[in-house]
């Protein structure tokens, strides 16, 4: 079966137990996506599947025929960074950096979700337009854990990109 990863068509015919995370890291050499807990609890493995963020450790590659996968390597490059990548650099949105690819992929999709009007549990009026306050960003990014505790800078980085997109 085939699937597209960062715009490149790849073939998968391996063991059906292979998670999307292991396929990306082991078979595609895309090691930007990180394995943290491998149980969907830390968010380090977050990638975009057809534009939506998911935990790549909790999905099987074989279930993604014809899907379009975007990893951190597909968002930007050192020479041509995505605005979120630049903002994380500007704001020191990390210390060890292990959670950062997941944080950035998650933030990319999170901004798109807010743009599409998706509410969160801290949204007071479920039918009003979404205003991404700091509390909203914290809640929406809660699936990405940072053991270094760079959270406040992560919020600042995401806020910058949100403001710039206005």
């Amino acid at each position: 079966m085939k699937l597209a990863i960062n715009g490149t068509t790849r073939t998968f015919d391996g063991d059906p137990r292979t998670t999307l995370l292991d396929f990306l890291r082991r078979d595609c050499d895309l090691t930007g996506t990180k394995k943290g807990c491998d149980h969907g609890q830390c968010g380090a493995c977050t990638v975009l599947v057809n534009g939506q963020r998911i935990n790549s450790c909790l999905t099987l590659t074989v279930m993604h025929e014809d899907d379009e996968i975007t990893t951190i390597e597909g968002l930007g490059t050192p020479q041509d960074m995505h605005p979120l990548q630049s903002a994380f650099v500007d704001h020191d949105g990390y210390q060890c950096g292990y959670c950062t690819p997941g944080q950035i992929c998650s933030a990319k999709a999170m901004l798109d979700e807010a743009k599409a009007g998706w509410p969160s549990v801290v949204t007071e009026d479920l039918t009003a337009e979404i205003d991404l306050s700091g509390d909203e960003i914290r809640e929406r990014m809660s699936g990405n854990l940072c053991r270094c505790g760079a959270y406040s800078n992560i919020i600042d980085a995401i806020t910058d990109v949100k403001e710039a997109a206005r």
């Binding site: 137990r17 969907g40 999905t59 998650s106 549990v121 914290r138 699936g143």
Partner: protein
């Protein structure tokens, strides 16, 4: 993970047949794959139902809405109709898990999620739910997250979810297809089971049955709250949760429907509570009576004793807010 045979059925009937023959259905997979990694679940066949449809929200003839079994939690919670007319369901879904998990988790899969009991998830420990007849390790073990209602010595696990709690308050119906094109509907309040002497069975699904959707009756309006008490304010399971749908008319409660999460082997609904509230004027005495009804047979097992006073205080706070008795 143990090896398995991966199958993609060509439709619902095929999926039901594969399931009847021992296959495990996989939709979002966020719970099942986790349990397969832990070898709590070891299916020989994995039946991937993601490409068989069942992914729409459709209005029903009587003003309700039908949520397909494969509608993701994210899409359901964000649907403008759900947000406007059944907001307790949006609130409950959004209070659970993370954005990543809600994008994969489905309506049917969420109903079938397994308990997060530490011993159920640890194959080195006895557990009647995982391995009937081996005993319940939680009974005299670490049981902070465990049941205080409807449990017995066989199993004190809780159903951990949020979405279903709101669906209990909304009196939803689960639609189920069986092999040979059979189908049936089950009130969601009868869908999950108490442990009894078969704690290995979480719900009433029979072999070969597949959830096709959940139907919500026409909206009843009113104030709809989902209050979730947990160890941290995001991305954690409930210790106690309450879904409340309360409508007031001329100072009295004209409609009341309450359901309680993380207190039992299933979301808890007690019709006596709804009856006691309906027609009554809000008062502290009334709210105490509701708490008494809820907790009359409550039993703690040590570390979870706190859930009993916590539930009492939480239900009273929810009722005060929902009835406008105080702010």
């Amino acid at each position: 993970m143990r090896p398995f045979d991966y199958q993609r059925p060509d439709g619902l009937d095929h999926a039901a047949l594969l399931e009847r023959d021992g296959g495990a259905l996989i939709a979002g997979g966020t719970n099942l794959l986790d349990l397969m990694k832990l070898q709590v679940e070891t299916p020989d066949t994995l039946v991937d139902i993601n490409r068989i449809g069942l992914d729409e929200l459709e209005p029903t003839d009587d003003g309700g809405i039908r949520i397909g079994a494969l509608v993701s939690n994210s899409v359901c919670a964000a649907d403008p109709r759900i947000r406007a007319d059944w907001p307790v369901l949006s609130r409950a879904i959004l209070s659970g898990a993370s954005g990543q998990l809600r994008n994969k988790a489905t309506t049917g899969g969420n109903l079938c999620q397994r308990t997060r009991c530490y011993y159920f998830m640890n194959i080195d420990m006895p557990c009647n739910k995982r391995e009937p007849g081996t005993g319940c390790s939680a009974l005299n073990g670490r049981n902070r997250i465990h049941a205080v209602l409807g449990a017995n010595e066989n199993c004190i696990a809780t159903y951990p979810g949020d979405m279903a709690v709101a669906m209990y308050a909304l009196d939803a119906t689960v639609e189920i297809a069986g092999p040979d094109k059979a189908s049936r509907s089950v009130k969601i309040r009868d869908f999950h089971r108490l442990p009894g002497d078969m704690p290995q069975r979480d719900n009433v699904l029979e072999p070969g049955e597949v959830i096709t959707g959940v139907t919500l009756p026409a909206p009843v309006g009113g104030t709809q709250l989902y209050r979730k008490v947990r160890e941290r304010s995001s991305y954690a399971f409930a210790l106690v949760s309450i879904a409340a749908v309360i409508r007031m008319e001329e100072g009295a409660i004209s409609h009341a429907s309450l359901a309680f999460g993380s207190m039992a082997h299933k979301p808890w609904h007690d019709p006596r509570i709804d009856a006691a509230l309906t027609g009554a004027k809000p008062s502290d005495a009334l709210f105490d009576k509701v708490a008494d009804l809820l907790l009359e047979n409550a039993e703690g097992y040590g570390e979870n004793d706190f859930k009993i006073p916590l539930a009492r205080r939480t239900v009273k706070a929810v009722l005060r807010e929902a009835t406008g008795a105080s702010t």
